[in-house]
Symmetry: C2
Subunit: 297 residues, 2 copies
């Protein structure tokens, strides 16, 4: 089995295992690539990363890490010298891990945040999930992609403990769980009622026994790090498909309320009920974090 | 504020609070209706239920309850004497609570499972989520609808503790969280690859930066109480909209692989890739649990 397929904990290397250098971590299968910070491939996802202070914009909060994607930095100065793209190797891997709910092994190295990093070498700090990604202009004035990683609980980690059939040299890839969290609030329910559960983009109504289904989609996300408000001006009534596309940057909405694909094709006009006033700031924020609008311009 | 809108814990009545009779529970706002077992309305969802042995098919496992929907039973003998429908008052409320992720207060009454029920009167046993619903033929030979309720953790319950602005007589309805759990397995990934993420029902491919998105939909659910297998014959590659419809019984699939609406309209033929052999038993199971096929015939 290829090294890029080994997800979850590596038998014999529990949380806290230390490695003198990257070569030892690679031999242990905990982080295979000798140099890159992100291990994996685009199709299967990232299975491990190294956090060691190589990017100025990394933020380490212990059980949560805001990790900077790959590319655009000068390895000597650790400063960004160019925009990053989601298509850069490493970044697409982390998007796949988020969408597939795959666990990512996190290694911290001596150069990272002194509160959480080993004094020397590298330490395996457990499995994390990728719970969000967005872009912004980093400290050095270039576009960076940021990935939020959250530590799995002990229970969740145990769910990823591989079963080892006799003779298996490396763990099997196990079942993963993807949870799409759809926040339902009294405010989003009021927006959904304005449209009788009809999608503001395609008009579809999902009929199931006993009721109709739609989702209240926050344009600027609630909670960290987006801090969008739970107000009608920040909520759209969408079908699950268009909610998925909006949340992943597959579509965006112009100030003229035109819905466009990520390739900038005009798809349709957003249907807006009388009295539902959308906040242009939140639409712009959504365009900015997915790279459809440049906040530097 | 109407009684049917009060979701979450009632201040002053923590877990374990006891009531001599239904009248006391009603006065406390813990379970308002004087007689019905399910409180709430179809639009807002169920906010409380009583489990007291009124239905022969109830199963109480402590932190999990398989609750029988309303209707069709003889209150004197507690036996089912007619089929239940999801449209019956009470049942639609529980479906709304499931789809909206709303917490349901559970009262146990004497008369329920002796392992978990009070010796007399009624006891408030905390908040539960409705995690699933399906139908089957009950002990007495009639169709019943069953709802799985799972106790919230202490942390989740605290997330539902109401903020009480000054002068608010009853708690505000708070934000709820709905999590759609989409299991992604190596097997479902292999099915998704057979279709290059194109929905087997509508053909759509969701394009987002860096990848395409589809969902592996288990026809017969994994885990309790369905125990469906994680095999290609039990998995469809669907878009989130059609996955939602399949999981909620808004559509079903015939043995001839015709996709039908819940009103039995033929919608389209399922697209099936060469070599993807679907298991007719699982398609029938899905039809049975949503009432589209009668296992008694």
């Amino acid at each position: 089995m290829s090294d890029s397929k080994v997800f979850g904990e590596i038998p014999g290397f529990p949380i806290g295992s230390t490695f003198r250098n990257r070569g030892e971590a690679s031999q242990a299968w905990v982080h295979r690539p000798p140099r890159q910070g992100i291990s994996g491939n685009r199709r299967d996802g990232a299975n491990s990363i190294v956090v060691s202070g190589g990017y100025a914009d990394d933020e380490d909060l212990g059980s949560e890490i805001i990790y900077t994607g790959a590319g655009g930095n000068d390895p000597r100065t650790k400063r960004q010298i160019a925009d990053q793209s989601l298509d850069q190797p490493g970044n697409a891997e982390l998007v796949t891990s988020q969408l597939q709910g795959l666990p990512v092994r996190v290694l911290r190295g001596a150069g990272g945040d002194p509160n959480f990093s080993p004094k020397s070498g590298f330490r395996y700090d457990g499995l994390f999930r990728v719970s969000d990604h967005w872009s912004q202009i980093g400290r050095d004035g270039f576009r960076i992609w940021r990935f939020r990683l959250e530590a799995l609980s002990i229970e969740e980690t145990q769910g990823w403990r591989p079963e080892l059939p006799e003779g298996t040299p490396v763990p099997k890839r196990l079942r993963s769980m993807v949870t799409r969290v759809v926040r339902s609030t009294e405010v989003s329910n009021s927006v959904k009622r304005m449209y009788s559960d009809s999608c503001q983009i395609c008009g579809v109504v999902l009929n199931v026994p006993g009721r109709t289904i739609s989702e209240g989609a926050h344009i600027r996300g609630l909670g960290r790090p987006h801090f969008g408000p739970d107000t009608p001006g920040n909520i759209l009534c969408l079908c699950p498909n268009h909610h998925t596309l909006l949340d992943s940057g597959g579509i965006y909405i112009t100030d003229q309320l035109e819905v466009r694909s990520m390739h900038h094709d005009a798809l349709t006009s957003l249907k807006v009920a009388p009295g539902h006033i959308l906040d242009a700031d939140h639409l712009r924020y959504h365009r900015e974090i997915f790279g459809f609008e440049d906040p530097r311009l």
